[in-house]
């Protein structure tokens, strides 16, 4: 369960995030939808305590991120916008590194790592060095290392960016799998199709503010548009930064 209350963040004169509030519940997929530059990544960065908000509060499973950032990071699995791997380490070694930083005992780490290698179907690349991985292989490895500590909450920043059709389909299946396990899944996207197909709840962000927060059906009803894309355009008030 991730709760965000009235977050504010400015960079110089730019109000990147200007009073964002929403909640992402367990056993649901919550989509953070918005055009490029709407403040999605900055909001997520404040969630996983990379940045501190100027105002507002982040609660993860009831733990205040400002008061105990380490406890919050233990409860989160994060696939950030930046997802660089260590190229001179194998996929397994990359996963192990993060597992140890999470403080997993070695036996638990081994079990979790192998379960993820199987679930993400990456056994063929697990002992190869990350140098020369395809975009899809990189994302798989990055997701595995983000989830190695079995977090209840999962944050994915534009996870399908740069993936081909097959990899995107596999990733969506995996997200549904995470939801079925009862986890709280929060992901950002500017791709309508993806959000419409996956989300139980959509939070639409534009210019640093939440302009809508509801189920896909409710959003369609609210805007009077049958098509989610049209609903989205209506909500943000322009067609900037859209991708089908």
């Amino acid at each position: 369960m991730i709760e965000v209350k009235d977050l504010h963040k400015t960079f110089g004169a730019v109000k990147a995030v200007d009073g964002v509030s929403f909640a992402a519940r367990d056993g649901q997929i919550t989509g953070l939808l918005g055009p490029n530059g709407a403040g999605k990544t900055t909001t997520l960065r404040m969630l996983y305590t990379l940045m501190a908000p100027e105002r507002g509060q982040v609660l993860v499973d009831g733990v205040d991120a400002a008061a105990d950032p380490l406890a919050v990071r233990r409860r989160l699995g994060v696939l950030p916008d930046a997802r660089g791997l260590y190229k001179r380490l194998t996929a397994r070694e990359n996963i192990d590194y993060f597992g140890r930083l999470q403080g997993l005992p070695e036996d638990e780490l081994r079990a979790r790592r192998e379960a993820l290698v199987a679930a993400l179907e990456m056994a063929d690349i697990a002992d190869r060095r990350a140098e020369g991985f395809s975009q899809g292989q990189r994302v798989k490895t990055a997701i595995a290392r983000a989830l190695v500590h079995d977090p209840r909450n999962v944050i994915l920043d534009e996870p399908t960016n740069g993936l081909d059709v097959m990899a995107t389909r596999a990733l969506r299946q995996f997200m549904l799998h995470l939801k079925a396990e009862g986890r709280c899944v929060l992901f950002s996207s500017h791709i309508m199709q993806e959000v419409g197909a996956l989300c139980d709840r959509i939070v639409v962000i534009a210019r640093g503010r939440v302009v809508a927060d509801d189920t896909p059906d409710a959003l369609r009803a609210q805007t009077g548009q049958a098509n989610l894309e049209d609903a989205f355009v209506r909500l943000i008030g322009s067609e900037e930064g859209l991708a089908a």
Binding site: L50, L70, R75, P80, R100, Q102, P105
Partner: protein
């Protein structure tokens, strides 16, 4: 999911980061070559080569017969005999002595005036010209040697003339200069070994440089810093793990360098110059002890500079400037020779410089100087590490472009 056990987990953040960085960089050929091969071995080799060349040059010029073109040799057969006795091998006259010297066909040319014999018989002063070009390297020693021979010949002849006139030769020498050099064999070696402290610092610097860049600027450029910071390990622990990895590499680099000096030092023909120099295990251990806080200080400074840089390339540029910094004490001591004061040992770089020279000089290092050197540099290292931790805390650091 095992949320209940989560608070019990304790991340061994420091050790995990340290081991991973060491392992990863042991797989990088460029880092390995520069930290364990070229960095630590190049300097001792270069040093021994330079010292050998300079020693042999001096010895060669002093002992070897010296070929000197003579113009007008026929006017002064006695003088020529005296020169021959001094190891000069007269060569036939050259047409244009000035040009020959400038073109380095000869280090110097001797010209005896045609009026030499006539003037000599009258007891008048005669002129012998030594034509040379002081801007040419290697001319100094032969010119000095020939000039000395000529002066000696002149003094001898002058003394004989005085005796022939019934006077004591001592009359013409009211002041006698007696040089008494207080330099011991080892203190003479110091001049030559002045660059040694810089070479050690340079080795430490090169040994850790690639790591320092890779672990901060490189990690950010490869976009792996942001996911790393999403782990439940405080940033200062991550930084300390990285710092330790840099220190491990630069310390290993210095150890290899010292071993190489120990082996190669035996090939420096110091005994030819009457010098004694000991680069053995005792020396190596003391240098290592002296440099320990310097290893940490340099690693912290390198990380700081690399953290400021926006990219790998930018960090490389900044660090090559920083590499000049350790040259300062060596240059300063060369340009303005001052007497080492006690407090100077507490100044990082300067302290190590003076301390290593003390060791080379064979005086040994007093416990007080050693303590000041270690303490002063350790304090600086602490400050630099603290400042870099602050830099690591900034939000800007984690964000890749």
């Amino acid at each position: 999911m095992n949320a209940a056990t989560q608070p019990l987990r304790r991340a061994r953040g420091f050790l995990t980061v340290f081991l991973k960085e060491v392992r990863e960089n042991l797989r990088d050929r460029r880092t390995l070559t520069s930290a364990f091969l070229t960095g630590p071995l190049l300097t001792p080799l270069l040093f021994v080569m330079l010292v050998n060349i300079s020693i042999n040059q001096q010895l060669d010029k002093a002992d070897k017969p010296l070929a000197v073109p003579l113009i007008g040799a026929q006017y002064a057969p006695n003088l020529v005999d005296a020169l021959k006795a001094g190891g000069i091998v007269p060569q036939p006259a050259v047409a244009d002595p000035e040009e020959a010297v400038r073109r380095q066909d000869a280090d110097l040319v001797l010209r005896i005036a045609p009026g030499y014999a006539k003037a000599w018989r009258k007891g008048e002063p005669v002129q012998v010209e030594v034509i040379y070009d002081s801007s040419q390297r290697g001319a100094d020693t032969p010119v000095e040697r020939v000039t000395k021979l000529l002066e000696t010949y002149s003094r001898q002849q002058g003394a004989m003339r005085l005796v022939a006139r019934g006077l004591s030769p001592a009359v013409a020498v009211p002041v006698q200069v007696a040089k008494r050099d207080q330099a011991t064999a080892q203190s003479r070696a110091v001049l030559m070994f002045n660059m040694l402290p810089y070479l050690f610092v340079l080795t430490i610097f090169i040994g850790g440089m690639y790591l320092a860049i890779d672990l901060t600027a490189g990690e950010r450029e490869r976009q792996s810093l942001e996911p790393l910071f999403a782990n439940p390990v405080p940033r200062w622990k991550i930084f300390l793990g990285k710092l330790a990895a840099i220190c491990a590499f630069s310390a290993a680099s210095l150890v290899i360098c010292l071993l190489a000096f120990g082996v190669i030092g035996g090939f420096v023909p110091t005994e030819k110059l009457g010098m004694e120099i000991d680069l053995g295990p005792g020396f190596a251990l003391r240098v290592l002890l002296l440099q320990l806080p310097m290893i940490v200080l340099l690693a912290a400074l390198q990380s700081m500079v690399a953290a400021f840089a926006k990219s790998y390339r930018e960090a490389q540029t900044y660090l090559s400037f920083l590499m000049m910094l350790p040259l300062l004490p060596s240059i300063m001591l060369m340009m303005l020779p001052f007497k080492p004061q006690g407090w100077m040992y507490a100044v990082p770089l300067l302290g190590q410089h003076l301390g290593i020279l003390d060791l080379v000089r064979g005086n040994g290092l007093s416990p007080q100087s050693l303590a000041m050197c270690l303490g002063g540099t350790a304090l600086a290292a602490l400050l630099a590490a603290g400042a870099t931790v602050q830099l690591y805390r900034s939000e800007r650091l984690a964000i890749s472009a």
